[in-house]
Subunit: 338 residues, 2 copies
């Protein structure tokens, strides 16, 4: 995996920073309007949750997808903000569920402001994001968005069901990550296209791009949980094992494993998963069977599928530059170290 | 307070039961469609949360408000179901926040299925309710609904701010209950009218009815927390005191109290609020100053204001019968024992 070429003429990093800045400006003025007269603590909690050094990848996708279908106006950045609201709502609720204390090296909302504030702030963000989507992308956009949200919840339930179960199938893993991550990123792209009035072919193409990209993103996330550098990611490695999550590197290894090794993994899953020794044993087994390497190949294939989905777009302006950025973003997802 | 006249020609109880049955049928078929292929645990949690013996007052309001503006078709019952979804989402998240074990004599969702399931199921219901409102009541309906949700969250934050504070003003109490309960009931009524294509006068009239009714409902709730019969309500009395909530009966008493009594209440609030002796002392002080009686009068006045808001409706059909039911419902809210 090589780092993205940041001196490429399309300059993804510069564009990402400029879009993030415009989205953050939209978020601030939307919050000022929506929170006028609100409780100061609610205002503080929402600002703390939203302005947390996030990468703003979802809003960037909305913006690029709308632009490459020919629309780029002020309200696009507010539409994009709605996807960041939902994403942050999800993170805030997830941190309550996982009882997480830290996110990106800072206290989580739940750790800093308590359980009630975290649940309620997440609910506020849900309502605000749906309000904005309904207003800016109409009933069709809202339907795509709400179905993706429902699907994300279902993915979380399915994931809970497979916890610690070494009989989990690769198909089940992909089903979970498509629901947890792929659908929502697909909806981000599809609604950007819908907002720009794109025809169904383009909407579907961008939705497919987002779906594959989201899956690739999650596979890379699952790889980083083993291979990541804590200084870059701000997260400790081995969390998924502690939580009993069976992710692709392990599934790949289990496919190659002997019956004895499979039983050993089952025993590790049923034992004390917080023991460093248990994690080292699992890690060695995955490495022995090439589980990391083949998961990285899968991520590569998913990114190729994302790129292939962009075929209906021509090389002519205004599509060209934005399609190039979408392609570069897909490469970045693959190469990211955090 | 007298019990509602159930043999009144408009027969509120029979109508409420028939509307509840149709709403529940809509809920079941909507869930079947929306949850096709979903995780069995998610399906179980949602059914457990939704079919819990609830009074279905919010859907009844939507239906009556739409009917008295001239629309009554199959999709009305699905729109009404959306309000029950949001209401139940709120209850499920509230029970997580309050760490409540029981609701209406049954385990709460959080107690039965755990914290993760409760938060996620609430999120699912949020998304589904907004999807339905957006589809059936359009962007204007969604905007009213999402603003009411945001306002409810803000009301919860304000309530947290006033916990244990005997300097709370009556105005602050009413501000909290309008936001927590009034706005959402007002939106239930306003969206019913909007759905039926009512003009702005009627929409506003029904919203005002709902706002006053919601406030009355909350005042009665706060009274029942002191005066309720546990066998009828399924709740213990004195919960608000344990949680440090300063409600209207106490505020009324504090308005009449001497400085010494006020300091005694402050000491009770700062002491161990789980002590039965502390609760008895507070109760006696409220009774001594007529705090229960004057709160009951306030509830009566709020119901009168709700009834007065219905003035723009004429006595002619199809309005007559449904307006009569709305009036009867307001009287029921006042007289309810649970």
């Amino acid at each position: 995996m090589k780092p993205p070429e940041m001196n490429h003429p399309t300059d993804l990093r510069g564009m990402a920073a400029s879009v993030a800045a415009r989205v953050e400006t939209s978020m601030r003025s939307d919050l000022d309007a929506a929170l006028a007269g609100s409780d100061p603590l609610l205002v503080a909690v929402l600002h703390y949750a939203l302005f947390n050094g996030g990468k703003r990848i979802r809003p960037l996708l909305t913006v690029l997808c709308s632009r490459c279908c020919g629309r780029d106006d002020e309200s696009l950045y507010l539409l994009a903000a709605a996807f960041e609201y939902l994403h942050v709502a999800t993170l805030v609720h997830d941190d309550v569920i996982d009882r997480a204390e830290q996110r990106r090296g800072k206290d989580t909302v739940a750790a800093r402001y308590g359980l009630s504030a975290a649940i309620l702030a997440g609910d506020w963000l849900h309502a605000r994001s749906m309000h904005l989507i309904g207003r800016l992308a109409g009933a069709d956009g809202l339907e795509i968005f709400c179905q993706a949200t429902a699907s994300m919840v279902n993915g979380e339930f399915e994931q809970l069901r497979y916890v610690g179960d070494v009989a989990t199938k690769e198909q089940q893993y992909f089903d979970v990550i498509r629901q947890k991550t792929g659908n929502l990123i697909a909806s981000t792209c599809a609604i950007g296209a819908l907002f720009a009035g794109a025809d169904e072919t383009r909407q579907k193409a961008l939705a497919a791009y987002g779906d594959h990209l989201g899956a690739a993103f999650q596979v890379v996330d699952d790889l980083l949980d083993f291979l990541g550098d804590t200084d870059s990611t701000g997260k400790k490695t081995g969390n998924d094992f502690i939580e009993g999550k069976i992710t692709l590197p392990l599934l790949n290894a289990l496919n190659q494993a002997t019956e004895q090794e499979r039983q050993a993994v089952q025993a590790l899953m049923e034992g004390d998963r917080t023991q460093p020794q248990a994690y080292r044993q699992l890690y060695a087994l995955i490495e022995h069977h090439g589980g990391f390497h083949s998961a990285a190949l899968t991520a590569r294939q998913l990114v190729e599928a994302a790129l292939a989905a962009l075929a209906p777009f021509s090389a002519s302006s205004p599509e060209e530059e934005n399609i190039a950025l979408l392609k570069e973003l897909a490469e970045y997802v693959l190469a990211r170290k955090k």
